[in-house]
């Protein structure tokens, strides 16, 4: 996982925790049933029930309810939790039966107090504390009563553990591994074309190889320095043609489509072959971080929107739509590996899958019968708006996948 992703994940969690708190604090049952939230100015009946909790190495969530067989009213709960431990800990609120997690506080500092809010319905819940350096402490089970009529309950989710996600990551890594020989062969073909001076064929083979690579989903530097060598972008203020340090697909694209001599192209296709060889040789290539697997489908489409839909990567071939098509395949594949885990956890998964499919169909409508792709700039305004809307709608549906597929502790750990 890239630094960016790790930070994004961290802040997403922070933001969620804050949002949970705020929403629950002021939620009004009178408005809760509406499709959209309403102002909370009249939320007197639903003022949250507030609790001061403590957590340490052996106890977790003491202060919620009153000892054994504790029972509290349902609805908005406002917690102030003090970490009495001398090490940071993760704190969860779990529903006992479903094992769903309703609240998650990552890395609460040693000696720190943190606040959180959640809206709970009838059920049996408990806190679980996971100190960084010792065994988890599981709190007493608390019976929560029914929420006031109309309250909007916070959504919980059954955790996906690091182990579960690791299995997905291994399967995905194997798939990536299995695609690499094809990439190698296609790059070798491109190189052979260039060596022979057949630049017309080289153009076609460049596209084939490039789309293969784009299907692997290297979004957000999944392949690290290899990606910079294989598919890098020109430095700021330069073009793919003028940037002397640039190598890889876009350098070759710039040379091929600007009429550069075959020798210049061949020098770069040789380098590309070597770069792909070192990608294949790197044992890290197929080792996907389980943290990343949930982000992948979302980030691939984000990258497609940022770099392809804008035409930013175009170094002359005008094949951004082809790249977007490959990226959508890539996102669909990445999502597919998570399908069984998401099926029960993400109600809108069918919508996300349908959006990916219909967007891809729309993109492929620009693949002409002669095999060429319509340049982005040839699209009419209406076509362009429809394309932008389709990708925008898809990426909105993929965003929750990363949240749901974040590795979490389970009550059994």
């Amino acid at each position: 996982m890239s630094q960016r992703s790790q930070f994004a994940l961290f802040w997403a969690v922070v933001a969620l925790v804050v949002a949970v708190g705020v929403a629950a604090t002021v939620l009004s049952p009178a408005h809760g049933g509406a499709a959209q939230p309403q102002a909370a100015s009249t939320a007197s009946a639903s003022a949250p029930h507030s609790y001061e909790l403590t957590a340490n190495r052996s106890t977790c969530g003491v202060g919620w309810g009153d000892g054994a067989n504790a029972a509290v009213p349902g609805g908005a709960q406002s917690f102030t939790i003090a970490n009495g431990n001398d090490a940071p800990m993760d704190i969860q609120l779990q529903e006992q039966g479903s094992k769903k997690v309703f609240l998650e506080l990552d890395g609460v500092g040693a000696g720190a107090k943190t606040t959180a809010q959640v809206v709970l319905g009838k059920g049996r819940y408990r806190f679980a504390c996971y100190p960084e350096d010792s065994q988890p402490a599981i709190g007493a089970t608390v019976r929560v009563g029914a929420a006031p009529h109309g309250a909007v309950l916070s959504a919980g989710t059954a955790p996906l553990t690091r182990n579960q996600l690791n299995l997905v990551a291994i399967a995905y890594g194997k798939w990536v591994d299995g695609r690499l020989p094809t990439l190698k062969k296609q790059v070798a073909q491109l190189d052979a074309d260039a060596e022979e001076g057949d630049l017309a064929r080289a153009k076609a083979d460049w596209l084939t190889a490039h789309l293969s690579y784009e299907t692997l989903g290297a979004a957000y530097d999944a392949f690290g320095d290899h990606d910079a060598e294989i598919n890098g972008m020109p430095a700021s203020g330069t073009t793919a043609l003028s940037d002397r340090g640039l190598t890889g697909f876009h350098k070759i694209e710039a040379l091929l489509w600007s009429g550069a001599p075959a020798a210049a192209v061949a020098a770069q296709t040789r380098r590309l072959g070597a770069a792909v060889d070192s990608l294949i040789a790197d044992p890290g290539t197929a080792q996907i971080d389980p943290l990343v697997i949930g982000l992948r489908s979302h980030e691939i489409v984000e990258n497609a929107i940022q770099f392809e839909l804008t035409g930013a990567t175009d170094a002359g071939s005008h094949t951004n739509l082809a790249t977007i098509d490959a990226n959508l395949s890539s996102a669909t594949i990445a999502l597919g590996f998570l399908k069984s885990d998401l099926a029960t956890r993400y109600p809108a998964l069918p919508d996300a899958e349908a959006a990916l499919a219909s967007t891809q169909k729309l993109v492929e409508s620009y693949h002409r019968p002669d095999g060429s792709w319509a340049p982005l700039l040839s699209l009419t305004r209406a076509q362009r708006e429809r394309l932008n809307a389709a990708l925008g709608g898809t990426v909105e549906l993929l965003a929750p996948v990363a949240e749901i597929a974040e590795p979490r502790f389970t009550p059994d750990e």
């Binding site: 309403q38 609240l103 959504a155 919980g156 932008n388 709608g393 965003a399």
Partner: protein, 417 residues
């Protein structure tokens, strides 16, 4: 920059209302009575530092008659949703989002399974911030895509090129126009973000222009970027009877029934050649407008809200017969029903290749009948002296939908009845 008659400085009245003064309270009461809706929630709340809130539900959209606020964003959009069902869902989503944004409160809590439902630009709790979100439809919405051709407002059409125009069609027209308007920029931007996020697949931005209304300098009507007070003689939006005659469209005859309570909206993005203008002498500037630059008074008078009394100046010795205010609103019995409700904003948009500033006016005007009012007046203004210093570049004709009556209603529902 058309001139209308009336001497009600609406914005000033609103500001007094915000301060809780007696006169302001009276204004607020009048607005409430006249509109049944578009009044600030409680003057007391303002004193406590809480921003104004405009009631979302009503016969009319609140943004039409609400006082002009400091910040606005106009978004022209094309619908990408498919068919009548797709458009219906889109309009319902816009309505739901606008209802929440203009009411304020805690954003929807999605739990730990999704990114936050709100951008957080306004902090954990969304302030109403004096926000209105006004939705209007353009002529292109009534083509074959949504089966609405038979219910098009009769006067709705793409905006024509007037003789002095330099329209760039890339910043004209659109299936929809959304106007966000609030006391502060962040409230406007937040609203724009949330609505676009909620409708990502259903509509796409076609063009956009942000604007602002200046504070009174030093008093009276806000000034445009030519330095003149703009809107001094606007019609009195608190006069319900007048609004019924000049702003609200009525169903029946040529109009489909659903237009009742809506209003034709003319939007003109008018570039001002401010560098050129600043090189023009004060006498010439004032003669072009027909008003004193400093006070805003008509050149026949001495204070801003005075009647220009054209009958005492029949030959244009004080206010030339070609002056903007005189041509736009001659104040003759035959032209009274041509007046419209103007809501003008300044814009400041960047630079030209020649190094000049792109500044100007976002002229918006609500009309009962766009032909009888805006188009007639605009035709009269053809070749007015001011045209050398302005250049209309964008905009369009739209129809501001009737209001959403209650929590189960949605903007545009009447089109599908």
């Amino acid at each position: 920059m058309n001139e209308q008659s009336s001497n009600a400085p609406s914005r000033r009245g609103f500001l007094i209302g915000m301060a809780g003064a007696a006169a302001g309270a009276a204004t607020t009461a009048a607005v409430t009575a006249g509109l049944g809706a578009a009044a600030p929630a409680a003057a007391a709340a303002h004193a406590a530092g809480t921003a104004a809130r405009y009631e979302f539900h009503g016969a009319h959209q609140a943004g039409v008659l609400a006082p002009v606020r400091r910040s606005t964003s106009l978004l022209a959009l094309d619908v990408t949703a498919q068919g009548a069902a797709g458009l219906t869902e889109l309009l319902q989503t816009i309505t739901d989002t606008a209802r929440f944004l203009t009411t304020g409160g805690a954003p929807r809590e999605l739990g730990i399974t999704a990114p936050p439902s709100d951008s957080g630009v306004l902090g954990p709790e969304v302030t109403a911030g004096g926000l209105t979100v006004t939705l209007a439809v353009g002529a292109s919405l009534f083509d074959g895509r949504f089966g609405l051709a038979s219910v098009k407002p009769s006067k709705l059409r793409p905006m024509e090129d007037f003789p002095n125009d330099a329209l760039d069609r890339a910043i004209c027209d659109g299936d929809l126009l959304l106007q966000f308007e609030a006391d502060d920029n962040d409230v406007v931007i937040h609203g724009v973000r949330e609505v676009l996020r909620a409708t990502r697949a259903g509509m796409q931005l076609r063009w956009r222009r942000d604007g602002f209304s200046s504070p009174p300098r030093p008093s009276g009507t806000p000034r445009n970027l030519m330095g003149f007070k703009d809107g001094t003689a606007n019609i009195d939006r608190t006069d319900a009877k007048l609004m019924d005659q000049l702003v609200w469209a009525h169903g029946g005859q040529a109009e489909p029934a659903w237009v009742e309570g809506g209003s034709y909206l003319a939007v003109r993005v008018i570039r001002m050649l401010v560098e050129f203008w600043d090189r023009v002498g004060i006498e010439e500037q004032q003669q072009m407008f027909g008003r004193y630059k400093g006070s805003g008074a008509p050149l026949t008078g001495s204070s801003e809200f005075e009647d220009p009394h054209y009958e005492r100046d029949p030959n244009g010795d004080s206010i030339p017969l070609s002056a903007h205010i005189r041509v736009a609103n001659p104040r003759t019995p035959g032209t009274e029903n041509q007046r419209m409700l103007r809501r003008a904003f300044n814009y400041d948009g960047g630079i030209d290749a020649n190094g000049n500033l792109d500044q100007g006016l976002i002229f918006t005007a609500f009309n009962q009948d766009i032909e009888r009012q805006f188009v007639t007046v605009q035709k009269r203004l053809i070749d007015e002296p001011l045209v050398d210093y302005i250049s209309p570049v964008g905009g369009g004709y739209y129809f501001a939908l009737p209001g959403a009556r209650d929590a189960s209603d949605w903007l545009g529902k009447g089109m599908f009845a």
